[in-house]
């Protein structure tokens, strides 16, 4: 064991031999072909690769959104591949903050209510303090003044900030983001990536699937996938942050 490993915190995401196959018309197609990957708190890992390389599948397996065909996933000490149903949903709500390309905010709830929803569902904060907590998070992402608007009234960047605030609602140790900037202009993308970088700096593990050509400005690590295998895994030196 290298000495620097002993200095670093234990991996909060740990994948071993992770496989996923999809069967179409009786023919199996491997999406992931044995992934070994550790992500530690404070890391901002960008998973890159072409379409169909297995990026989103990997993220879905981490979040328990999909189930692996083989191998194991352990997140924050819990074997995700062994969780099911309501236990999995409750675990996800407390442990994982998910951010999607298309934000997935509930259109009939205001921004602050969208942020309150995971807290309400998981019961992590007393009811009377939920709004305060949500406003605090909206302040953190810089859109507290938009709190009482419906998502449709916000710009794409603001909606994604709201989605990040919602992802942080239950103070999860892991943030998983699937193409969070795919629907945003470059300036707005930069501000969102700043947010993720900040979250990683605060000690969270952030894994982001992205098509962005250059994420070295924000990410601390780049994991490249091709045909379901890791072809490169390198630490980045962040230029800013």
């Amino acid at each position: 064991m290298r000495s620097e490993d002993t200095m670093r915190p234990a991996a909060v995401i740990r994948a071993r031999g992770l496989r996923k196959e999809y069967t179409v018309d009786g023919v199996a197609f491997p999406a992931l072909a044995g992934i070994d990957l550790d992500v530690r708190p404070g890391e901002f890992a960008a998973v890159v690769g072409r379409s169909g390389s297995g990026k989103t599948t990997l993220l879905n397996l981490f979040a328990g959104i999909d189930t692996p065909s083989g191998g194991e996933v352990e997140i924050a000490g819990t074997r995700v591949d062994r969780l099911k149903g309501s236990a999995l949903a409750a675990w996800r709500g407390r442990t994982i903050g998910l951010v999607f390309q298309f934000f997935q905010l509930l259109p009939t709830l205001t921004v602050v209510e969208n942020v309150m929803l995971p807290i309400d569902l998981c019961g992590t904060t007393p009811v009377r303090e939920q709004r305060e907590r949500a406003m605090e998070l909206l302040g953190l992402v810089g859109i507290a003044d938009q709190a009482h608007k419906l998502p449709a009234a916000l710009s794409g960047g603001q909606q994604q900030r709201a989605a990040v605030a919602r992802a942080l609602a239950n103070d999860p140790p892991v943030i998983l983001a699937d193409e969070p900037t795919g629907n945003l202009d470059s300036a707005t993308s930069g501000r969102i990536l700043d947010l993720f970088a900040g979250l990683a700096s605060d000690g969270r593990a952030v894994v982001m699937v992205t098509h962005e050509r250059d994420v070295s400005t924000w990410a601390s690590r780049e994991v490249a996938l091709l045909d379901g295998r890791i072809t490169a895994d390198r630490q980045l030196v962040r230029a800013v942050g």
């Binding site: 879905n60 979040a63 959104i65 999909d66 149903g85 309501s86 949903a89 409750a90 996800r92 709500g93 407390r94 998910l98 999607f100 298309f102 997935q104 905010l105 509930l106 259109p107 009939t108 709830l109 209510e113 969208n114 309150m116 929803l117 995971p118 309400d120 569902l121 998981c122 009811v127 919602r166 992802a167 609602a169 239950n170």
Partner: protein, 806 residues
């Protein structure tokens, strides 16, 4: 409010059009069910209360001679008898001034009778009347056009005309309304009998059988007590010739009322079921539309039970709102229906008698049934995995649906029709549900309307079986030859038959025969009739076995009503002992005939009747004849002339009526059922059309993006509008085909059920074009109207709006 509940409320508000439609559909059904429950509750309580208010006789003993005071005392001392009274019943005719003669049934009692048994409530005037005073049952007043103080002519069976003053009106909850029976019920004292020149002796002994808990409801016990009393009276020198035991504590029209209530509840329940399925479908549609939101909520920690609870609450809010809206109007409607039913049954209705359980049951079913029905849709919608939910891109047609679409592509239909068909088959489950819903509504509406026409046909079939125009009945046998000679000479009488008839009883092991006839001597009565050979006027259709032959020795043909009321379970080939005029003889059931509009009858040949009744072969008690002329006025005029001719010769007429009078009486009996079926057919139809409207509205909402894309590639508003309307019409058309087919067995089954239970006779199978045509027009036009709003919404999309829809 917590965010999850805020979301539910806002979702309901945003989809307020559909929410309102769902609430309206459930509210309509809950109001209908509540109304029917309330009406049934009030009527069932009041029908009993009204009937029991008069302390109706449990049994009536027909005695050989007028009852003596010591025999009366003997009756009161018989174990099981809690009260007794003596009376006489006289069948006569009555008219106001020079108005038409109507049948009259007179109940006479002693002047000092305390009026405790079979009593009527005096509503105006003072009892007892003078010797020339008569009390009319209250429903006879409008029927005759009489008022208190008017003078009425009463023609006694022996032909004497006496004028009486209408001394007052009485309510007799034990008899049906005069206009339904075409008979006037009236009361007087023995002094009135004397004024008419009739014997004043009272030869009917009415007894109430019961105990400390009140009158008995056990017919067998009542018959046993009456038989015991008959034995005692026989020993005292006044034997009973027969005993009447009507169904205990049951109004004569109880069966019809139960059928009205059952039909209403049946259709009400169907309506509620339909609207619940509709809500389930709409909620299912809403969940489908929100599938990505469900995925997002699951992604941030929502468990399936939490989501299920949220949407279950949403359904409960809709159902509860509908129930709150529906209960009060439902109760008011129920009171109204009960009032109408009460007036049709001659009941005094007190709406306060409605059981509080009705409200509890109405609230329970209104709030729970839709929620329970929605559970499968909710489970299906909330159980989906996050990945499936977030990745949802709708469904591609597969299997049979895909094959059907391929077939459709090859059909020479317009582009708009093809697109509409594809749109419908995109979600085959919802299409099937909407079609089923509308098909059930159509089946219900067509069945309801056909059944209501079936009642008319039943009445018509009863009339068709009577190929004569008028009938005259005599209390005693009259020499047939002289009747013939007299009546055939009356202008307008074209064909005449003389029949012989006498009251009959089924002879059992008990000392005295029992008949299950009501005090009105009509409901439940049983008569032996001997038609002339090859009779044209007494040839009812045979259900089983055969009609009479000239050479029959002991053959009897019973009507279905006679079998049901007097000899339950009897079949062709069975032996049966019948008593007529005190003589008992044995018969073989040769056939069972169906005859609507006549009380239970046993048909025998004339020679056999002579032997059985001991009456002369050359007599008649019924005359039936045809009239030259086709109008009701012709028939009425001819009958008046016949009655006058008979009166002039001093031949006493007991009853005289044309087929028109009979028709009016029969119509009066089925009117409630016909009206009820119309109402429920309308309700069920409206619920079905609401279902179509909400289903298509959901479908359009779900496919806004598709319409948007069509707009961006050049589709005009009119084309899109046409596509949506065609979807509605195709749905209605498919449902119409199903309903057309399903209404055949449904109509037959419902007609058999309701007919057998109300009148012991299945309704004739009725499948008329009018209900089908009416429903076709309503459903297709309704489909267009129901889709217009959704079609306009789809057509009004602008290209810029279309491009912003994600």
């Amino acid at each position: 409010m917590r965010p999850r509940w805020r979301k539910i409320m806002r979702d309901l508000w945003i989809a307020r059009g559909r929410t309102s439609a769902m609430i309206a559909a459930i509210a309509l059904s809950v109001a209908a069910v509540t109304a029917f429950l309330a009406a049934a509750s009030i009527l069932s309580a009041e029908i009993d209360a009204n009937y029991r208010a008069g302390n109706p006789a449990s049994a009536t003993l027909h005695l050989a001679r007028p009852i003596e005071p010591e025999q009366f005392a003997l009756a009161r001392a018989t174990p099981g008898v809690t009260d007794a009274t003596a009376r006489a019943t006289v069948a006569a005719r009555i008219r106001v001034q020079e108005g038409p003669w109507q049948s009259l049934l007179l109940f006479a009692s002693a002047e000092d009778d305390p009026q405790r048994v079979g009593a009527a409530t005096i509503e105006s005037g003072s009892w007892p009347p003078s010797a020339h005073g008569i009390f009319l049952e209250r429903t006879a007043m409008p029927f005759l056009g009489a008022h208190v103080g008017d003078r009425v002519d009463v023609l006694a069976p022996h032909g004497r005309l006496t004028t009486f003053d209408v001394a007052g009106a009485a309510h007799d909850g034990g008899v049906a309304p005069a206009d339904q029976e075409r008979t006037v019920y009236a009361r007087m004292t023995t002094a009135g009998l004397a004024a008419m020149g009739l014997p004043t002796g009272l030869d009917e002994l009415e007894i109430v059988v019961g105990g400390p808990d009140g009158p008995s409801g056990d017919a067998a016990h009542i018959a046993a007590v009456a038989q015991d009393l008959a034995v005692r009276l026989g020993a005292a020198g006044n034997p009973a010739t027969s005993i009447d035991v009507p169904p205990p504590l049951r109004h004569p029209h109880y069966g019809q009322m139960v059928m009205v209530a059952t039909s209403m509840l049946l259709f009400g329940a169907l309506s509620l079921l339909m609207s619940s399925v509709l809500v389930a479908a709409m909620i299912g549609g809403m969940l489908t539309a929100q599938i990505r939101q469900i995925g997002a909520m699951k992604a941030v920690g929502a468990t399936t039970p939490q989501l299920f609870g949220m949407y279950l609450t949403m359904t409960a809010v809709i159902a509860s709102a509908a129930t709150v809206i529906a209960i009060a109007p439902g109760l008011l409607l129920g009171r109204f229906i009960a009032g109408v039913g009460g007036s049709m049954l001659n009941l005094d209705i007190d709406p306060g008698t409605m059981s509080p359980l009705v409200i509890a049951v109405a609230i329970a079913i209104g709030a729970l049934v839709p929620v329970l029905m929605a559970v499968p849709a909710l489970l299906l919608g909330t159980v989906r995995s996050v990945k499936d939910a977030i990745d949802d891109h709708g469904t591609e047609p597969v299997g049979a649906t895909a094959r059907l679409l391929n077939v459709l592509r090859r059909l020479p239909v317009g582009r708009d029709t093809a697109i509409a068909a594809r749109g419908l088959l995109r979600r085959p489950g919802r299409f099937a549900l909407t079609v089923s819903l509308l098909a059930i509504a159509g089946t219900g509406a067509i069945t309801g309307l056909n059944t209501s026409l079936g009642w008319d046909r039943l009445v018509q079939s009863g009339m068709d079986a009577r190929s004569y125009d008028a009938e005259v009945r005599f209390a005693d046998p009259i020499r047939a030859a002289s009747l013939r000679e007299l009546v055939e000479a009356v202008p307008g009488v074209s064909q005449l038959e003389a029949l012989r008839a006498a009251p009959a009883t089924v002879h059992g092991s008990a000392p005295v025969d029992v008949v299950h006839v009501y005090p009105d001597d009509s409901h439940g009565s049983f008569t032996m009739v001997a038609p002339p050979p090859n009779s044209s006027f007494a040839a009812p259709p045979i259900v089983s076995g055969r009609w009479l032959r000239d050479d029959d020795a002991d053959a009897v043909v019973l009507t279905t009503l006679a079998v049901a009321q007097q000899a339950p379970g009897a079949v062709v080939g069975d032996r049966i002992a019948l008593t007529v005029n005190g003589k008992t003889s044995n018969w073989t059931i040769a056939g069972i005939a169906q005859e609507f509009g006549t009380q239970g009858t046993a048909y025998v040949t004339s020679p056999e009747f002579t032997a059985a009744s001991g009456t002369s072969a050359d007599t008649a008690t019924i005359l039936r004849f045809r009239v030259a002329g086709a109008t009701e006025a012709d028939r009425g005029r001819a009958l008046d002339l016949v009655a006058s001719a008979l009166d002039a010769k001093g031949i006493p007429v007991e009853r005289a009526f044309t087929v028109d009078t009979l028709r009016a009486a029969l119509d009066g009996h089925v009117f409630v059922l016909v009206e009820a079926l119309f109402i429920i057919a309308a309700i069920i139809g409206i619920v079905g059309l609401l279902g179509l409207a909400t289903s298509l509205s959901t479908s359009v909402t779900e496919r806004t993006r598709e319409y948007a894309i069509m707009r961006t590639i050049g589709a005009k508003g009119g084309f899109i509008r046409g596509t949506v309307v065609i979807e509605g019409v195709l749905t209605a058309g498919a449902a119409l085909i199903l309903a057309t087919v399903a209404a055949l067995p449904a109509g037959a089954a419902f007609g058999a059920f309701i007919g057998q239970n109300a009148f012991r006779q299945a309704l004739p199978f009725t499948y008329e074009p009018a209900p089908l045509l009416l429903w076709s027009v309503l459903s297709l036009a309704g489909a267009v109207v129901a889709t217009i709003a959704a079609a306009n919404r789809a057509a009004a999309l602008t290209v810029s709006r279309a491009l912003t829809i994600s």
